[in-house]
Symmetry: C2
Subunit: 211 residues, 2 copies
């Protein structure tokens, strides 16, 4: 199985830069952009703030690198998991499986994407500077299914908001629903059950004739 | 149609307190808890910071009042829109319609809930102090459908994460998907199309036999 941190991260030679990125992803995921401080990232890596600034001039640049890494890894993961799958429905389910598995294995990414969608900034100028690959991945698969006559003409954005959103909520909500409702998103039985639901929803979304 | 700000807000006599709450909801929605400043709320209301502190001792208390108001209004909206509906499927669709209409009419609430799910805090101690009514609303309806044998035994939390999540993404994502993908969630045709999708997904989630 393709790693959720490959191949973008492996190409980088600098171990410190990678440690900073890993720590920053946790800090941005837990605290959000506004509250995150370079000092917290430095503390987590065990270096001093100037060592971060040597690699990343400021918080915005560090955040951008984290977000770019998430979406590049996610796209690579999707490409690997949909390669050779030609049937439109099988491709759609493979894409949604890849996104779900990616979020479960990298919950910091799920939380950062959840924040992205709440935030207008810091990517207000071009909110999809890094996420466009993900949008194109789902658009291409939905368009192919519609063209082949296998899917009803449903906009890809409805599948994104209506079905793919579930993978992010599933990961982020695990400990937020109160006593007696906590679950482990990585538990194999739990994950299998949610994956089956996502498949059911995806099939219904693209094939159901009725509103 | 029941107002999305009734009846909680009407019961309060103090117009200034209400103006502070309304402005704070916008500030918390746009900036998040960490970045929000009481000064921004004061500026939006046209009062000075001490006038806010007279009503709300601090940022946490002001945030709590906003979150409490959102979930109380949302619950009242659901109660009004499911009253007299007895068939389990019709009740489930009425609940999801109520949530969707509530989010569309009050996008600041959608954005605050989206943030809640990204954040561990400020409700880390009891994350559902205010949202428990919403969780109970959906649990009661799903449980009734399962008991009546109309629904397969699907946990309410899967409907929450898999189907209801869509209403929040639909509202929050409207201007975040880049050029050519922007939509108006309140546009009647757009909303009708997304509502039909939510109905399709809800029916599939509770009645589909296969995974």
């Amino acid at each position: 199985m393709k790693s959720i941190r490959e191949p973008v991260r492996q190409a980088r030679g600098d171990a410190t830069r990678q440690s900073i990125l890993d720590a920053a992803e946790v800090v941005f995921a837990e605290q959000g952009y506004a509250a995150a401080r370079l000092e917290d990232v430095a503390l987590a890596v065990g270096i001093r703030r100037p060592s971060i600034v040597y690699h990343f001039p400021g918080k915005q640049e560090l955040y951008d690198a984290v977000e770019a890494d998430i979406f590049a890894s996610m796209h690579a993961y999707v490409v690997a998991h949909t390669a050779g799958v030609t049937d439109p429905m099988a491709r759609l389910l493979a894409l949604l499986d890849a996104w779900l598995d990616f979020m479960v294995a990298r919950p910091t990414a799920a939380r950062i994407i959840q924040r992205l969608i709440a935030d207008v900034g810091p990517r207000a100028g071009n909110p999809i500077e890094f996420s466009e690959t993900a949008l194109r991945d789902i658009e291409a698969i939905v368009a192919a299914g519609v063209e082949a006559g296998h899917f009803r003409p449903v906009p890809a954005m409805m599948i994104l908001n209506g079905v793919a959103a579930g993978a992010i909520f599933y990961v982020c909500n695990a400990r937020l629903l109160g006593e007696g409702r906590t679950y482990d998103p990585a538990d194999p039985a739990e994950l299998a059950r949610f994956r089956a639901l996502i498949h059911t929803l995806a099939r219904a979304a693209v094939t159901s004739g009725a509103g």
